[in-house]
């Protein structure tokens, strides 16, 4: 027998030390994040209006706004989902509020840096900043450097989140493998008290591991780009860095939905009165996600015919395989949880259910795009933003809104006004997305300040729907705010 090791207590840190309760901290982050989403959504609407010739924008301004919209939305969505997952797990895993503060501050600093680079410097190589475009644009060199430092900060913020999540899981379940519930398959790993990680912790474990893999890739990417910025002698292989860019960019955007899954596992049961239970199927399904999600990036390079064939074929296979756990376990399981349940239909539950539908429909579009012969006529058309807006705006963002509704406290059945807000919001959302799909099927390229027909007509219609969507969003956020104030005044927190 090994000598029992005396582990000393952690350096104590209570929420009071930073003058914030976890609830207040999360509430503040949600407010800032949702405000950012609204502003960036307005920028999206402005771009649509410019494409529809309703307003005039210089191409340079258009592409700078495009860069800000993309980089900002991805970072904010990652931040918001991370905060939601943190909130639902922080008690259970004893996550530290001060670490969340570090994480949020780093991401916000990164966003500020990127915003200055874009709005002051006119930096505009789109959020994928494919080498060598960032170094060959019309913008000043300082804006290129500042933007990459911004990306570095966002990466650091996400890394802090992943590290603390991993630490919390190990502290509570003994190892990250038990966090992934591999002990359901390997009894030898099981804790003496037989406690098995709940599904939301399984999702968190996958996110922590794949998140760290992603930031490791991101750090190599950003250091290479910054090195080239300092000294243009630093050689970069365009194909290598394109792979790396999408390894980082695709995976971090994709992880937002896996973070959300952890939130769904925790919150959906509150509305249905039924629980998700960990079993071997969940453990296996999340192990598949863990291994295959980081291998899906090559589907961004299908049209780079010099790419090694094994990566092309493997990319299609990995993308296909990565959808199995989501569709067969998480989405099916959520629907089973709702089926003939005594569901309490509140704004939150409606948003969660609608988000799952958006995830599915966007997933179907993504699968078609990830199929190589189809990709040949879809790649870099509006089909691409169509599918990712469906599962980021029509999926992940709805989970964030659903979480916010739960967070501020549901308390009562929705009245007519709430129903009207929901109808407005969803009408705008669906109409806006359909215009994207129509553009994609018509072969209209994405990322164009001036589009070939029928791009402009579709953009005109889409602008109208964006306006409706934003009106719905503002109304919904005001309703949340009013509800939050009222519930807080009654001394009531989150819940139904």
């Amino acid at each position: 027998m090994a000598k029992p090791v005396r582990v000393q207590e952690p350096v104590a840190l209570h929420a009071a030390d930073i003058g914030l309760t976890p609830r207040r901290l999360v509430g503040m982050t949600l407010s800032v994040g949702l405000g950012l989403i609204f502003v960036l959504g307005m920028i999206g609407g402005i771009m649509k209006a410019a494409q529809g010739n309703l307003i005039q924008l210089q191409p340079g301004t258009f592409y700078a706004l495009l860069t800000l919209h993309g980089a900002g939305m991805i970072s904010t969505v990652v931040l918001l989902t991370a905060v939601a997952l943190w909130y639902v797990l922080h008690d259970h895993l004893s996550l530290r509020p001060d670490m969340l503060v570090f994480s949020v501050v780093a991401i916000v600093w990164g966003l500020v840096a990127a915003t200055v680079a874009v709005l002051v410097g006119g930096f505009g190589p789109a959020w994928t900043f494919l080498y060598p475009l960032p170094f060959m644009g019309t913008w000043p060199s300082w804006s290129t450097g500042l933007f990459f430092f911004g990306v570095l900060f966002v990466g650091v913020g996400f890394a802090i989140f992943c590290f603390d999540l991993m630490a919390g899981i190990i502290r509570t379940y003994g190892s990250i493998w038990n966090g992934l519930a591999w002990d359901t398959w390997i009894p030898r790993l099981r804790r003496p008290d037989g406690k098995v990680a709940p599904p939301s912790v399984i999702a968190a474990s996958m996110v922590a591991i794949d998140g760290l893999i992603t930031v490791a890739a991101g750090s190599v990417l950003v250091v290479a780009l910054l090195a080239h910025w300092f000294s243009p002698k630093f050689p970069i292989d365009p194909l290598w860095i394109k792979n790396l860019t999408f390894f980082f960019g695709h995976t971090i955007a994709n992880l937002a939905i896996y973070v959300s899954a952890g939130v769904i596992y925790y919150i959906l049961p509150k509305y249905t009165g039924r629980a998700f239970h960990t079993n071997k199927v969940y453990a296996l399904s999340w192990a598949i996600s863990l291994f295959f999600v980081p291998w899906a990036w090559p589907h961004h390079l299908y049209m780079d015919f010099v790419q090694a064939p094994w990566l092309q074929v493997g990319g299609e296979a990995s993308t296909y395989i990565a959808t199995i756990p989501a569709t067969v376990v998480t989405i099916f399981g959520s629907l089973l949880l709702v089926y003939r349940s005594d569901m309490r239909w509140r704004p939150g539950s409606t948003l969660f259910l609608a988000g799952i539908l958006g995830w599915l429909v966007g997933g179907v579009a993504a699968m078609l795009d990830a199929t190589i012969p189809f990709n040949a006529v879809l790649h870099n058309t509006l089909w691409v933003p169509a599918h990712f807006h469906t599962y980021l705006l029509g999926g992940v963002f709805l989970f964030v809104l659903g979480f916010t509704s739960y967070f501020v406290g549901e308390r009562q059945t929705p009245g007519r006004l709430v129903k009207a807000i929901e109808w407005t919001f969803f009408t705008g959302l669906v109409g806006f997305l359909l215009m994207f799909y129509a553009g994609g099927i018509e072969g209209v390229p994405r990322r164009e300040a001036v589009q070939p027909p029928p791009g402009p007509i579709l953009a005109d219609i889409a602008t109208g729907f964006v306006a409706i969507l934003l009106v719905g969003l503002v109304a919904m956020l005001i309703e949340f705010w009013v509800r939050a104030k009222r519930n807080a005044a009654n001394g009531e927190a989150e819940g139904l």
């Binding site: 952690p10 530290r96 802090i160 190990i170 930031v215 490791a216």
Partner: protein, 148 residues
């Protein structure tokens, strides 16, 4: 099994010593870039493993957030040290080169130590970071496009 548990630091130490001193003693040529990156990753991982073993024997209070910032900073530092502008200085001098490799071992140790000081067993998170960075750099960090 027990013997293996006790012997691994010695075995790993021997491997690290061969890796560090071999080129000095025999004047071996520098390996190809990819292999060289993996060699750095090996040194970083070894340093981390030693740190984890060290902390396990002498547990210390843990949990200060600064340790996590140190982990992230050390990871970035290891990449910066591999930049040609920095690496070029030591590349030609075998002794300096060996010293830099010792530096990687130390960074690995510090990273593992810092991670363990944030939370026990979090050293594995550091190892994951270093291994992924090592594999990715080996695929082409610091090398230009193939000559057509």
């Amino acid at each position: 099994m027990r013997a293996l548990q006790r012997a691994w630091p010695l075995a790993l130490g021997l491997l690290v010593a061969i890796d560090l001193l071999g080129p000095l003693a025999f004047g071996a040529a520098a390996p190809p870039l990819a292999l060289h990156h993996l060699e750095h990753a090996f040194l970083l991982v070894s340093g981390g493993l030693f740190a984890m073993a060290y902390v396990r024997r002498r547990p210390k209070p843990y949990g200060d957030p600064l340790w996590i910032l140190a982990v992230i900073g050390l990871g970035t530092l290891s990449l910066v040290l591999m930049l040609p502008d920095v690496y070029g200085i030591v590349d030609a001098e075998p002794v300096l080169h060996t010293l830099l490799h010792v530096g990687f071992l130390v960074i690995g140790w510090l990273g593992g130590y810092a991670a363990e000081r944030y939370a026990p067993k979090l050293g594995f998170g550091w190892q994951l970071l270093v291994i992924v960075m090592g594999v990715i750099t080996a695929t082409g960090f610091g090398s230009g496009p193939p000559v057509a």
